[in-house]
């Protein structure tokens, strides 16, 4: 397993958002975190790379308590893509090269653009001029530039048109097949959960209420009205 969450709880102000969450992820493939809106999925995802800290419980990354790992080192190994694109100022090439540049490394921008299904011509385009679908693919390329062993995707298709949704889903399948990385995919859409596949957990009101394969998770999600 890559990650193990043990009895993790998280408060936001007065409200408890996660309550005693425990689960383990596989070494690679897709791990789904599904649940209705407001169930605590995004809050949970932010704990994987220490953008947030749990109030109780332990999170292990490859057997080590993540509190003992330098946050920058952890984040380079555990990339994240948010619901809506968050481009940094500058061109697509500068965005994709941002992570490796922090370490003084170069990056194969053209190769990464091809990998996410974008033309190499996009390299010189200003990142804030891309369409939402193009920008979201650039976000994935930017995260992949650091060659992470885990990629966290927080409802990455929620702002996209159907064609872009399919393109991102195909990209996820390709990444799992070719790069053998672990993708933690957050979704509240039953059909998407079925299409993405893999295994995972269903959370509701901050608790893990079910764990199984994607089809069963989708059935349960449908049943609780997600």
């Amino acid at each position: 397993m890559v990650f193990a969450f043990k009895d993790v709880s998280k408060n936001r102000g007065e409200k408890t958002v996660l309550r005693g969450v425990s689960f383990e992820t596989p070494e690679s493939g897709v791990f789904m975190i599904v649940g209705p809106s407001g169930s605590g999925k995004s809050t949970l995802l932010r704990l994987f790379n220490r953008l947030d800290e749990p109030d109780r419980g332990t999170i292990l990354y490859r057997g080590r308590d993540i509190r003992s790992i330098n946050p920058r080192r952890l984040r380079r190994e555990v990339g994240i893509v948010f619901q809506t694109p968050a481009p940094l100022p500058g061109t697509v090439e500068e965005n994709i090269g941002f992570g490796p540049k922090q370490l003084g490394n170069d990056v194969d921008v053209a190769g990464l653009l091809r990998q996410v299904g974008l033309s190499v011509d996009f390299a010189g385009v200003m990142a804030d001029e891309l369409s939402v679908g193009e920008a979201q693919r650039m976000m994935i390329a930017r995260a992949l530039a650091l060659r992470p062993s885990v990629l966290l995707l927080d409802e990455p298709t929620s702002a996209l048109d159907p064609a872009s949704v399919r393109a991102i889903e195909t990209l996820v399948h390709n990444l799992v097949r070719r790069d053998k990385i672990l993708i933690v995919f957050v979704s509240h859409l039953t059909e998407q959960v079925r299409r993405i596949g893999g295994e995972g957990i269903l959370i509701d009101s901050g608790r893990v209420i079910y764990r199984d394969g994607a089809d069963k998770l989708a059935d349960m999600l449908e049943r609780i009205g997600g």
Partner: protein, 255 residues
Amino acid sequence: MLDIALSSVLIAVAIILSTVLQMGLRKSLLIGMVRSFVQLIAVGYIIHFIFQLEGIVYQILLLVAMSVVASFTAHRQVGGIRGVFIITWVSIIAGSILTLGFLIAFGVIDTTPRYFIPFGGMIIGNTMNSIIIALERLISQTRDRRHIVESALSLGASPRRAIHHLLKSAVRASLIPRINMLKIAGIIQLPGAFMGMLIAGASPIEAAKLQIIVMYMIVGCVSISIMVLSFLMPRFLFNKNEQLVFTEEKNILKL
């Protein structure tokens, strides 16, 4: 006092106009008029008292007190975020010591209360205003662009690197009005020190020379203070785990 009473008639006119036109400014105007009267008369007596005292220590104490009030004002204006008071104070003190120290060391101004206190007061007041602009800009943009900052953190950037573009924008926003002040000096408005010197009977050339020194001093102090502020600020926007100290919900701090 008769002159003051007569000039207050102008504020009374403004209050009457505000009432007739239902602008809702009557109370603010009244409070502003009373506060400015009390504060200026009080500071007049304090400075009069300090003018009688021998030694620069009392003047420095007065300027330190002004810098504390300025830092507290900045702290209140930006929503009481942890650490704002201390970094504002350190920034103001750093800029003031360097600019006043330089001008005194080279004999541009002397340490008599007549020069030292007005010059010190001017740089502290102007620096406070610029710091408030920088802080408000930086904090609101960091909140609004939280995902961009957290994206940069997630790519292994240091907190300083993650907010570099926001820091740059805040520094520019706070300094551009000062730079514009230099560009338009004497063309669109006659600055305060220039006017004061003219009223006091100095020649226009002497007044212009003093005004140039004042403006260079203000821009120098503001620039140094803002740079110090931008150096210190990342420490207060992130905690030791390199996480933003405020979440999506405004003012919920995770310290």
